[in-house]
Subunit: 498 residues, 3 copies
């Protein structure tokens, strides 16, 4: 603390004193602070009242337009902000998957999870959105976003809708807000795949597959379910995408993982399953929190309108299912694996979230608790099952997104209650509805499963036949980061030979 | 870069060219892009004007309902989005606490911070909310959320309120939005505890305590302060929870840390204090940023309504206190510890945030600066004090949340100004108000402190007597991760024997 | 799994059963759940309709005020929530820069990135905002936020604007919301600097420079562009700050990096450039995702009003440019560096984001794609260029923020189309506009560049002459963390001698 230290201290003290002096006059003048304009104090009643005795003023077309504009603006704000949260789930997937993989493959997992949203953005813009929401056959929309002339179907205020993407007419937000909301969902389906194929797939192979996935596979099914296609006409419901997003991602992941085969050393010839622990549980936990956070955009945002009678309840059903899934998985792990393995708890919460995604708007909070509990149990059993049949899924993506996506879609047929969204699902099997609802859900699950698995298999095969799917054996042993990207994730902490 | 490399390059280039070709027609057609509908350009004046000469149109009951619905929807959007930010603080706490602990205990810290919100969600749903906001005695609400019949007290548009949770009638958002907002606050109080008891508590013990905390302790005090109970009637104010959330968490943490005793090796028999540095300052900094971010939900969101006259100012008082706390702590550390220790700076910003939480809506921006500066100084002194009296708190949670929670609650009695929220707090001691305001705050601080400390002590004792509170000595030496969860956080970077 | 294990299992099972029992009555009572009030179902049309035959009700001044209040509230909600996202970019910068630096300097990078926002908050409150938006000369505003009397210029509902910060009159949000939105932008400019000067600058030197930057340099230019000063009068446009935020930060960073000189060992005497890889690509990727996320606040939020006709499109232009930048950089790296280096992909997406920041509201989505593609190419070339001329920038901040900030500002003059924001920019050079628009942009780029570079050089020189700019050689070798802060970032994983 010699001369240098004293000088620095002197400087710091002077700076401090100067700051206080500069601030002092202001502090002395606190009185004329901007006063809160009175009527909007939080204790004031919120609902408008048409009290008698108030002076009437003229109501004009301009004010009517303003009223309409405010409604459209609020729906747009809600749709965009929840879309931002869904975008943020890309970080969640990236961290979850990276944490669950080994350090020697961290860069390639990160790179896949980063580029996938960029590729998705372009693919959905050029191809996907037009296929998904174009007014085409029941099987395939025929409008490209750019090719059609681009008339916005957002409502001129006070006027009726008219638009070229009629399947999205139920929400009054402008076209680009709708596009963006749908885009972040498409990106999610693609990023789900990356976890299951991690630690052995070529970066380029995944890059190309993402384009096919978001440009072709996802929007075709999307046209069936959300674009007014044959499943929508049949009466299948999937509010925020247990099938449309999660099980599509899961089926494509299953096809990829099967075609790739397991990682070297995962299953030995004598039938033993070797656990390959991830390199950072901290990153994995971070990712799961981010995903839970993002799901508050995913589910409540799928109203695509600031529908006050629904969004609060959807937030609670979503959260309750996540909590129930985490608790159930923790107890399952405690009882059957001996200790409450954190990786199971994390996947349990995600299982609950995936399962509640389809029914979130149509079921009661107690039902959401049951749906989440069952999902938390299912995911543990599913992880054990896929290891049994030697489908190697480093992060459990198939168990979380496919198994629980199917469960959630079917659960809608069981637990739905007419009262929550009158005129939509009707009552599920457990609430007095007939089998029709449940069978529509089942039809959706099966047909989407067959289509996506087959289509993915074809695309994976095409890639395998051209640029190849899997890195060479020596590259996999050494880690993909050097071979695929030429850098290491943690060069100071990793042995160079690893 | 042999044959294989050339082939890959060829493929990449082809793919690229293909993309451009596909895009080209669209690029050529830029003209018919969706035009911005003119009147909503940002330069247009925002406030509606009843200009003479405009054609009048009829104003109907339906339009009146729409106007009311827009207000309710906007309040709901604000309440939910800020609640999502508060939920996200769970990530902040998880990373802050994990970063400040040793790698060998990282999994258990992460697991505690993850499961606590799941447990809180169920406990608050089943028990907490009904106790907190039920219309019971001054001391204890008597309505369960599910047991009462569940009539929503959200306003049918244009009608008067009627509801069973009358203490929340001041906001017009639907019941589930209110529930969710209150839930994320309850979860915060529980997660505060986990830092102070880290690196030695059994996972199961904390799991159970969280249920008691959110199901019983938190909502009883909550009934007193926010549920219309005796402290509310006395005139104690706590806008966003310096006492209700932070000092409740802090008192429970203090009881837990005292009953557990310090970590092995923290205090040697000759009275020496051994610093035990955390294993990742990067994660701790990440966590603090996330907390600061989440606080913009915590404080401005506590209006539970999109009250434009308040929320901007609250954002600024919140931010100013955080900034002042960080600057003050950095200078304190520079002057008294010789170097600007980053861990002190992080805790300084949190100290400012905790302190401004109670008064954020009732004080001026200059006052918030002073409140934050003092908090930043207090937290450094408090950390030194608790080490002196050998209460081992690995992350400084007690100093941040208890010490500064008390300071903030009292500061409200000193700095409040009637003008900001007319009809609420009146003026504080420094602005011409009498002692009444200050004494009400002091009564709240003391009574909540006694109740929470004693109740926590009882619950901790019950757990200690049944399943035990602290892991065995050898497990603590080896790290709790193996013993409690069977996995390591960073298996590739940690020695297996650690 | 002895006696202890069985006891624990028994306890867990009991707890579980108890929970189910407590929940059971509720589950049985699902029927009386709060019903969704019918009219707000998402399928209902959103735009208000003045249908004939509906009973008219009186429209009063009170209702008119409510309509105005709802608009102001919604604009405030949008402005604040997007400002929170921009605040969150501080985390992004912190993680990106820390990940790209070495572990031995991680604490000091984190500390700089944390304290800079605290310092910015105070500097902008005390000095910056008044200089930037005060009604002064074309060159320098003369109002302090606190010194002026603080009349809020937010619109009393239904009345005309009147306020002391007239340059911000175009948005109807309250003063504190405006202040907060502008503050987070000022903080961003300051934090950009920290990356370029990392791993060798004294913590105190950066601390002081941040105050000068946000208190003086940034707001002077801000007055020119956004505060109604001479560049605004000249017709230069910069919607969200490619120049105002990013290139200001970039110029100050360039001055700092030049005056500091390169890190020891970066450039050897024989002209070789030694790559110094960052210590955690995981943190860098995390940071980039957070930045991309925050940019959805940065650009769409810069409407400072919930302008539904603009914000959705701005979200899409922003996202498309980011995606295009990432894809372009990945292909550039693949073709020219041999492998798709993830660090280039990350900087490519940021390059696209910086470039689209100025023109985001004024250009079509296809144009945004082209702007982003070019930015992704430019950033790779720029990184190579600055290494060539031996300006050592550890994180590529100058290439991302300065190079692409300049490109984006000029791109506005090329790609702008009158139709998107009628009455603002007019058409750019590529859409039939004359040279005037482009020359105004160029004038802005050049004049801001000269001013900021010279002013920064002066401030850096002042600091160098007083407390010194660069740490001693031995401290740089050993790592700044011990020398500047007395702690290590990862004490368990780092060799103490490092």
């Amino acid at each position: 603390m010699g001369k240098h230290g004293r000088l620095r201290r002197l400087f710091v003290v002077s700076f401090w004193i100067l700051t206080v002096i500069v601030s002092a006059p202001a502090l002395a003048e606190q009185a004329p602070q901007p006063p809160a304009v009175a009527p909007a104090s939080p204790a004031a009643p919120s609902a408008p009242k048409a009290e008698p005795g108030k002076t009437p003023v003229p109501f004009t077309q301009e004010l009517l337009d303003q009223l309409g504009g405010v409604k459209v603006a609020m729906d747009t704000v809600w749709t965009l902000l929840t879309a931002f949260l869904v975008f943020f789930m890309n970080l969640g997937f990236a961290m979850l998957e990276t944490g669950f993989c080994r350090a020697k493959n961290a860069v390639t997992v990160l790179a896949k999870n980063f580029i996938v949203f960029a590729v998705s953005s372009l693919a959905f813009l050029i191809l996907g959105f037009g296929i998904m929401f174009g007014d085409g056959t029941p099987f395939f929309g025929t409008q490209g976003l750019w090719f059609v002339g681009g008339t916005d179907n957002s409502p001129a205020m006070g006027e009726a809708y008219k638009g070229v993407y009629a399947a999205l007419n139920w929400t009054g937000t402008p076209l680009w807000a709708k596009f963006f909301f749908q885009l972040v969902f498409a990106g999610t389906a693609a990023t789900i795949v990356s976890g299951a194929v991690a630690e052995r797939i070529k970066f380029g192979a995944f890059y190309i597959f993402s384009f096919f996935m978001v440009g072709i596979i996802y929007p075709i099914v999307g046209h069936w379910i959300w674009g007014g296609g044959w499943l929508a006409k049949l009466g299948m419901f999937d509010f925020a995408g247990s099938t449309q997003v999660h099980s599509i991602g899961g089926w494509a992941a299953l096809a990829g993982a099967m075609m790739l085969g397991p990682r070297i050393g995962k299953y030995t010839e004598d039938g033993k399953i070797n656990p390959i622990p991830g390199h950072s549980i901290a990153l994995a936990t971070l990712g799961t929190f981010v995903l839970w956070f993002g799901w508050f955009g995913f589910n409540p945002g799928s109203t695509m309108a600031a529908d006050w009678s629904a969004i609060g309840r959807i937030a609670v059903t979503t959260n309750t299912a996540a909590a129930a899934g985490a608790v159930a998985a923790s107890i399952m792990a405690w009882l059957f694996l001996g200790k409450p393995d954190l990786t199971m708890i994390l996947n349990g919460s995600l299982a609950g979230l995936v399962a509640i995604t389809a029914p979130c708007a149509f079921v009661s909070v107690p039902s959401s608790l049951i749906i989440g509990l069952i999902a938390g149990i299912l995911v543990v059993l599913s992880v054990l099952f896929f290891d049994k049949v030697k489908v190697d899924d480093p992060v459990g993506a198939i168990s979380v997104h496919l198994t629980c996506g199917v469960w959630g879609t079917l659960a809608l047929g069981l637990f739905a209650q007419e009262q929550f969204m009158p005129g939509t699902t009707g009552d599920g099997l457990f609430f007095g509805g007939g089998l029709t609802r449940f069978l529509a859900q089942l039809t959706g699950v099966v047909s989407v499963g067959i289509f996506v698995f087959v289509a993915s298999w074809i695309f994976w095969s095409l890639i395998k036949a051209t640029i190849g799917l899997r890195v060479p054996r020596e590259e996999e042993m050494e880690g993909l980061d050097i071979g695929e990207h030429g850098i290491m994730a943690y060069p100071e902490f990793q042995a160079p030979s690893r």
